[in-house]
Amino acid sequence: MNRGVSWFNVTMLILGFVFLYAPIALLILFSFNAGKLVSVWSGFSTKWYGELLYNEQILQAAWVSLKIASINATAATILGTLTAFALNRFGRFRGRTLFTGMATAPLVMPDVITGLATLLLFVGIGWARGMSTITIAHITFSLAFVAVIVRARIASLDMSLEEAAMDLGARPLKTFIVIVVPLLAPALVSGWLLAFTLSLDDLVIASFVAGPGASTLPMVVFSKVRLGVSPEINALGTIIVLVVTICIVIAATVFQRQERRRAIDDQMAQRG
């Protein structure tokens, strides 16, 4: 039976991926360009990576961004997981509709609105702007993304596992820690990583709530990009792409190896 993949599909896939990856490939290519132009090749060089290493402003901003991203990811994973449980497991409770709305709206809310609104809150209550305000703003939208990932996993979990644990004498909190968390682990890890990257990637919201003190990496990159293209930014982009690719490939390999082992186990189980 023809599985329904036509030449048209294959062509579209190839063109689509070329479209998605050509700019990234060119970005990487020109990060090794000796010249200052990012469009005319003038020999191989790694000097832009060297300059990046001595750019205090970028290093400083990167450090700020990493700190914010890890605090954000941790807090968002906790709050997002609680949200997921509240929505998928607690049945009806008062204010559930509002809660659902607040937990899904950040997924699509334009950044400029979220950024402005959050800033006005901090100004209204007189909270000094800086790293803390950026982190809080990031947690708010990141938790919604974590909730989506965790909810998908919870929906696929057999609820009787928790019931069995309680039936065998484990109290609710113990059940959660000993049974639920280990089973949710893959979702928690990907939720954490997603929250981390979302935070690392955000320009608009951070710009609104940052105040004069703190500058995140995207804010510095943006101010440089506005002045024109520079191979240094290409080098930075290449590093980011590389790190992300390595992380994802590792995660995928681990996942696939588990799958393969599972397949072997299943065969073993068939034989008894």
Binding site: M1, N2, G4, V5, N9, V10, M12, L13, G16, F19, L20, Y21, A22, I24, L26, L27, S39, V40, L82, T83, A86, N88, F90, F99, A103, T104, V108, M109, P110, D111, V112, I113, L116, T118, L121, V123, G124, A137, T140, L143, V148, A152, I154, P172, L173, D201, L203, S207, P218, V221, V225, R226, V229, I233, G237, I240, V241, V244, A252, Q256
Partner: protein, 300 residues
Amino acid sequence: MKNGRFGISGRTLAVAAPYLWLLVFFLAPFAIVLKLSFAEPLIAQPPYSAVFEWTGGLLPRFTGNFENYAFLLSDDLYINAYLNSIQIALFSTLLCLAIGYPMAYGIARAPGAWRNALLMLVILPFWTSFLIRVYAWIGILKNNGILNNVLIGLGIIDEPLDILHNHFSVYLGIVYSYLPFMILPLYANLARMDESLLEAAADLGCRPWKTFVSVTLPLSLPGIVAGSMLVFIPAVGEFVIPELLGGPDTLMIGKILWNEFFQNRDWPVASAVAIAMLVLLVIPIVIFQHYQGKEAGDVK
């Protein structure tokens, strides 16, 4: 489970923490934006007038006005930006759908070993810096950029094409950045589809193209809606792409809001713009939430 001995169960606490967080840091800010859109700008800290005045009565007196909204309506700039944003977001969404659907379909029907790899290729750009990916297009599209150089080098054109800082480059940037958001929900939907439905249709004498139109397409409608909302809603408020890839005439509300806030320092007008944008997006957001709830296994 029954409540604990102290009246408050762990369950209540588990709901309360994210609930309060979202109330304070997500919902309350919107109330403030709404309030501020009725204020007047001041050169002060903070730069706006009070909207409610405490006059000793039971309720504070409303001293705000609708001037900010009147101002938005009186100036062509804002109305054009508004319409422009809708137009750009709408056509970008359709373009994403046109490119993303065949891709999602191809991935969903690909052999098992390929499927994960292809899916990873879609997700990968989504995890890498959005700003850097938009930036990459500047180097490609600008006057003496890679694309023009290549085309001139090949002798296809003599003069460099003007393809940066106009509507074209904004469309390109949005489609490029948001394509994964279209493909992922479509893929999730198509991959779940029972293949025996297609086999049943074929068995009943339906030709492949007809099967696609009468079975696959209607069943994938939820995926289409979700993907379209994930593209359309943020695209309406997009700032980075029109700012970096658009020209001076590419007016979009996101950019207007940014400029009102950062350049004109007119917080009340920026708030009014935000409220105007929200009014436009309320229906798409509700549609999206409805779908999202169903996907995530909401209790009915």
